[in-house]
Symmetry: C2
Subunit: 322 residues, 2 copies
């Protein structure tokens, strides 16, 4: 529709048509950057609000320090997006979205401890134990994990209790020894080994990061009352983007370093860490990541426009540069 055809129309009609044009444009080119930015701001506000400082102050400060330390907030955003896709609302999913970020934060705090990966910095800030000490960092993680379930159980509104229970069941499963914790154990056990095969590497990633990502998507679907057919499709979407995310991470460790530092040796390579590119090579890794993202997007074919945020997030995971 060219604007010249609108000459002579009344102002009010002009506005209506322009609105429609805007809407078409939004449909055609989903503005992921604006979407992610808006959702990130929404999450920052919700996270700040969900955990007020109580007594003893020190532990609440430690929990808030890491929970509010930024990041992409991809997990809670996926939870909200899937709930909306399945005809639910942001309000229904918000307590679970916050809880998922608490659990993710807990895993980072414990992972960074000297007894684990011994990292001093995370997202450019000192890690929790460097600020508060190992003891408080351990307890801050415990506090976040416990609070996650309290928050889902207590704060989820306008959702039948059976669904909330199912969400708690899925989220706790994804956080435990059969998933996240198990993945961390395998990761620790693989440290320094150079004979890790693709199967073990995939085990680590699907458990350490994939399971919680899947729980984000699945819990959004459960809260909205999605059918089991839809849940299966959305779970597959999540599994595929989760693994692609890791492969792209491995690729970026090589290529981003090449571009930025002008040398071909990345952190993983220096640490002699087994990665997808070290097993498959760089080209095959790119092929596999693309395949996974295609597969993820194909799971969304029935949902039309409503699935645009999930499609855009999948493409973003593949094409991101950092």
């Amino acid at each position: 529709m060219g604007n010249n055809k609108l000459v002579g129309l009344k102002n009010q009609d002009m506005v209506k048509i322009e609105e429609k044009q805007g809407s078409y444009q939004q449909e055609a080119i989903f503005d992921l950057k604006a979407y992610l930015n808006q959702r990130k701001n929404l999450m920052e506000e919700a996270l700040d609000h969900c955990l007020p400082v109580g007594k003893p102050e020190k532990i609440y400060e430690a929990m808030r320090y890491s929970l509010l330390a930024g990041g992409k907030r991809l997990r809670p955003i996926l939870c909200l997006a899937t709930c909306e896709l399945a005809q639910g609302t942001v309000e229904m999913a918000m307590p679970t979205a916050c809880a998922l970020e608490m659990i993710h934060t807990m895993s980072l705090i414990h992972d960074d401890l000297p007894a684990m990966d011994n990292d001093d910095y995370r997202r450019g800030k000192l890690t929790n134990h460097k600020v508060y000490g190992d003891d408080i960092a351990i307890l801050a993680g415990d506090g976040l994990l416990a609070y996650a379930f309290e928050y889902i159980a207590r704060e989820t509104k306008n959702v039948p209790p059976e669904r909330i229970l199912e969400v708690i069941s899925q989220v706790s499963y994804a956080s435990g020894a059969a998933a996240l914790v198990g993945g961390q154990v395998m990761d620790l056990e693989s440290e320094g080994k150079t004979d890790i095969d693709a199967q073990t590497l995939t085990y680590i990633h699907t458990h350490k990061t994939g399971a919680l990502l899947e729980a984000c998507v699945l819990s959004g679907a459960i809260l909205a009352g999605a059918s089991s057919e839809d849940r299966i499709k959305l779970s597959k979407y999540a599994q595929n983007i989760g693994l692609a995310f890791q492969i792209v991470d491995d690729i970026l460790d090589i290529t981003a370093t090449q571009e930025e530092l002008g040398k071909s040796v990345g952190k993983d390579l220096q640490a002699q860490k087994v990665t997808y590119p070290s097993i498959w090579g760089l080209e095959e890794s790119k092929v596999q990541a693309t395949k996974l993202i295609d597969e993820a997007i194909s799971q969304l074919s029935h949902y039309g426009e409503k699935a645009e945020p999930l499609r855009a997030i999948a493409k973003f995971i593949l094409n991101r540069k950092h």
Copy 2:
């Protein structure tokens, strides 16, 4: 009834009367030792069953090592007893009872870590991190905490979902920064200080141990569908026995050592740890503990015989010698 009156009765009648006598005796003198023994065995079996070894084996072994390391199992026994008192069944409360022991175990594993209390032994066995390493011990605690909520949500049968959600809310609250974790933080902050007052000491105990004990009793009541009046009474019972338990612990640290080792200096005194006897003196501590137990038992006056296990447990807490 003297046995001489039974001469001449048929064997079958003899048996019936003896059974009745046994029942009267049980009513009059509740056999707490047999009760606790039977319930402990029931719990050992349930705990062994609730956490089968999965993959990666190491983390499941570490979780099972501490979960199945014995102890009085007082927490889950309280949960079952309260559920029965409030007309519920053992089956309704068993998943929650197991979960409460998982959370208690988690707190012990993390408490024993070098970054916290740095204990090598617990109940005569090497602590978790001494066997599996600090990293696995941290993750075993995380795994137990996450699994506790999964187990309640997934395994509780024949209870309306609203009640299960309320139990999860109460149990997670009792495990978090506002209760158990917060108590541990205050305990850590009080270490080495000799000017701790009774108020701070009570804060530590009511949070570090009291809140989870209260959650045990309260969750049993909630699962059975107890009225809010009953819940208040039972919560007060739990708060009182919880604090009495700690006071008696402090007393035993002095008196049990006196008897056993023939010296008047206990562990707490050696460590210059502030305790109730160090603030109130030994006699006043005994008076306070007795008062708390009396108060706990007075909360049970409406329940008649059904509350006999809870009454006997309260008395046991006061009169125990170890």
